[in-house]
Symmetry: C2
Subunit: 333 residues, 2 copies
DNA sequence: TCACCGACGTGTTACGTATAACTAGGTCCT
DNA sequence: AGGACCTAGTTATACGTAACACGTCGGTGA
């Protein structure tokens, strides 16, 4: 009589090894020292192996009241930046026996606007990028431990941030040192603290330079969008010698606009980006940009969340960034 | 006396509404018609709302013996291609109340070489890319329902494939039509069925053209790697007028190599890619490439898995692809 | 009158695991 | 000899949910 084809349970392993289910749990949970003999333990392990036993995680989660699973909320995964954040977070999680499930905010996923419904998983905590605006209110409502990425440190909750302000300062110093005085800031048209910082910091720095000018344009984060926005902004008769972009994709769009307008990069126009995506070194000339270590960002976020889950105080310093000087910037014409 | 701060259970809701736990389960599970009066049902819903009740998924999964969660196994998320696959799969999943957890194979994740241990989740099924080679044996060993992406249809199991062979044929026809006869194939140095197909199909097509020649080089999938490989291959004195790349990143590297060697694209050298990443339109000239619809690929993979889970026969036709002709190819010099 | 029925619920159980509490036999010290 | 203590386990229970099998009560047709 063929038994129904179902995964073996710890009780099956117990029967096979001739012990109680409790003993199986002790051995496989590595809590058997001083409670079970080495010989018996080995018999249990052997039985588990021959049966191909895998513990039922749903049962374990229910019993323990925790899941060792966290949710990572990001804006749509359209560039490798958040893929890197995920990878870093997942790496640290894996080292601590945790899993990471992803929620790329709704535009990518469809009608289920509720992150908790969409990620069909029982969760211990949440890491969320401030760029995933649509999902944030739902998350805030829940009482799960929460770590925010690139969010206003003034807000409540734990925050982990890249030192974006310093990155902007490095860009400004670099361009000012090359003699540039007339700037266009091509900003990301996304409501998020991280982009506010970029704008504020650049303006603050240039305000202290006599004779400097700063104009601003905004574009959604895409090459096509940036091309249109940059073309419109550069067509005006104001004299601009440097374009500071919030993102490498915006810079790539700026390249295309410049080409259409007959402006050479960097001879006529210096351009900078931010992120250091693969894109940055694929385009010609290679892009001067601020390197953000996405994987480290994800790692720090996960570490902070693990600290919170352990009731510790997460250590919160900004993550350093640095300017990669390449061929897209040069001395002012 | 403040009760311990813990999430409310269905029993708490029951107490609040003055009914039994069973009634709560019926109402919230939408199985109450003809068993509970409308008035009572509304009282239950109201109680659940005021308490902020969320069902415990671990308990539900244990009870039901299924989790509505599937694992998506991909190679490291280094380009937006697999991010797109994930997005498509997650979209379909979400529509059916499923969640998707990701396993980017080990190089990205670290020591936990076991996909099932790393994804700390109870699973109903698996979708795996044939490019995630390291993880495949572990997956095959498990008896979970499995859908393979871009894998040899001859192998057992359900397969969902892009019609890559047709894409290669379109590239070949395009270049032959422009008069090209001397080709370099820059292949991805990754052991996967999808890349074998590309090589085989190109060779098969060119073998039927009198006087045509085909050389081959291989590179890991990265711009830097491709630059080196292409530079070496193009330096030889053989006359090559067209480079067919397995991937857009390889094509971007080829652009850089050509620039170093003083070859103009497309005047001296036509180049084609595959994938149609954002990269393809960022570089100059824009890349002629085969557009692969990553999101559709993910959707089809998920649909096939859902079919398997329902005991149906998944319908398996290749997903069409098509050539985007842009500025990187022109008539042979 | 009475057997029956539908409407509206409730009591109880099982899912598979981890662990607290217990037991039985042997050893050792005093 | 007798308790203290160790070894090597076992028994029993709870986690929160879904759903099966019952119960009760008023009405109704014969």
């Amino acid at each position: 009589m063929p038994r129904a084809r179902t995964r073996p349970t710890s009780r099956d392993v117990a029967r096979e090894a001739g012990v109680s289910q409790a003993a199986v749990s002790l051995v496989l949970g590595d809590k058997w020292r001083g409670r079970v003999s080495e010989a018996t333990a080995e018999r249990v392990r052997e039985a588990a192996r021959t049966l191909g036993y895998r513990p039922n995680l749903a049962a374990r989660n229910l019993r323990l009241g925790r899941t060792r699973t966290v949710l990572l909320v990001v804006p749509a995964l359209t560039t490798e930046f958040f893929a890197g954040v995920y990878t870093g977070a997942a790496r640290v999680a894996s080292r601590h026996g945790f899993g990471v499930v992803l929620y790329p905010s709704p535009e990518g996923i469809g009608p289920a606007r509720d992150p908790f419904a969409s990620a069909q998983a029982a969760l211990d905590g949440v890491i969320a990028s401030s760029m995933a605006a649509e999902a944030l209110s739902a998350i805030r409502g829940d009482q799960l431990p929460l770590v925010m990425l690139d969010s206003d440190p003034g807000a409540d909750g734990v925050t982990v941030n890249l030192d974006i302000a310093d990155g902007v300062r490095q860009v400004a110093e670099h361009l000012l040192g090359l003699g540039h005085r007339h700037f266009l800031h091509l900003g990301a048209d996304v409501p998020s603290w991280t982009f506010e910082v970029r704008a504020r910091e650049l303006e603050a720095r240039l305000r202290r330079v006599p004779g400097a000018s700063l104009r601003t344009a905004r574009s959604p984060i895409s090459i096509k969008g940036a091309e249109a926005a940059a073309e419109a902004a550069l067509t005006s008769r104001d004299r601009v010698t440097a374009v500071v972009c919030d993102d490498d994709q915006l810079a790539a769009g700026t390249y295309k606009a410049a080409r259409r307008l007959g402006l050479r990069v960097p001879a006529d126009l210096s351009v900078t980006g931010m992120d250091d995506l693969a894109l940055a070194t694929a385009i010609d000339p290679e892009l001067t940009t601020v390197r953000l270590d996405a994987e480290l960002f994800g790692e720090r976020g996960m570490q902070a969340l693990l600290a919170v889950l352990n009731g510790e105080q997460p250590s919160g310093t900004g993550i350093p960034v640095h300017l990669e000087v390449r061929g897209s910037t040069t001395r002012v014409p």
